[in-house]
Symmetry: C2
Subunit: 189 residues, 2 copies
């Protein structure tokens, strides 16, 4: 049981005893995903939040004009979901797809809420998790309005070296909101 | 004491008794701010998270090129801080300034942590607060890479009608990461 990466992740912020670990493990399911398999479809309900035990995933939106925009990547030890759709139980704005063979731990919304009642200190863990997610997105928002694309690309490879190794240039371009040709021109400069 | 807007805000998600309200009130300070007065300076430590009792504020970054980028606005019933600088105790990336005479409730980081120990259900409140802040920023990130500026402007006025009434066109332009001239061209279309 202690082999699960998710316990290491949670215990970065709170201490769990064996009973609490059992309660947590009873709440989640482990899912093996093949490369390119989707665990969330745009327009469908988003019932789960996922923790990446191994492998890597990508969340992306396809616009009415057919343009693909990458919302986020998630590698081992990351959490990923369409937070809005997950919390508000509304249709998802994006797909989540495995970039390679991956293993995730999935938690449903109601199971998460019940778990927080059974193990109240998990509220603290999720408070810190979402606090950090908020920080990441607040900084991304600042970068997207204040930095040049060149600076944003360099910031991305500096912040997320583990992700850069797993993804294509086309995917990085769609994360930055630019064309692959523009990214290529930046890299050649 | 029950006149404080902050208690209504917290009680959207958890129930507080009178003792808990007293414990919370003992942890925060109330600050009156004049129009254009700054409660956070870029490059300085960000010691507090603020809740807006009345008035309105704006968080903005000034780049090395002198360009102003608006990170967020906060009106009555909103929380505002440089989350990264607040949590990690590092220099702030932005200024926070009052757009008009305002009243805020300020909580220091250590007081917040202590308060969560004394009133553990506040962990739940802050979990939901940051969960919603994360949702807001995740959607903003998606919009910034997938939508045209025209669509982003329309989304902004639709999402935040209370803010639109308080801010200048120049400030909205700096929130969208465009020049005031470009915003004016969009509006004239």
């Amino acid at each position: 049981m202690n082999d699960f990466q998710i316990f290491k992740n949670i215990q970065n912020h709170i201490v769990l005893n064996e009973v609490e670990k059992l309660q947590i493990i009873a709440s989640f399911s482990v899912i093996d995903i093949q490369k390119k398999q989707q665990i969330l479809e745009q327009g469908k309900l988003c019932k789960r939040i996922y923790f990446v035990e191994s492998g890597s995933l990508r969340a992306f939106n396809i616009g009415v004009d057919g343009k693909t925009s990458t919302i986020m990547f998630a590698v081992k030890d990351w959490w990923i979901t369409d937070m809005n759709a997950f919390v508000k139980k509304c249709p998802s704005l994006f797909y989540i797809e495995a970039l390679e063979t991956s293993k995730v731990v999935a938690l449903e919304f109601d199971a998460l809420e019940r778990l927080c009642e059974t193990v109240p200190k998990l509220e603290r863990f999720f408070r810190i998790l979402f606090q950090n997610a908020y920080i990441r997105e607040q900084q991304r928002a600042l970068q997207s309005i204040s930095m040049t694309t060149d600076q944003r690309y360099r910031q991305f490879i500096m912040n997320y070296p583990a992700i850069v190794q797993k993804v294509t240039q086309k995917q990085i371009a769609s994360y930055l909101g630019i064309t692959p040709e523009f990214l290529s021109a930046i890299k050649n400069k």
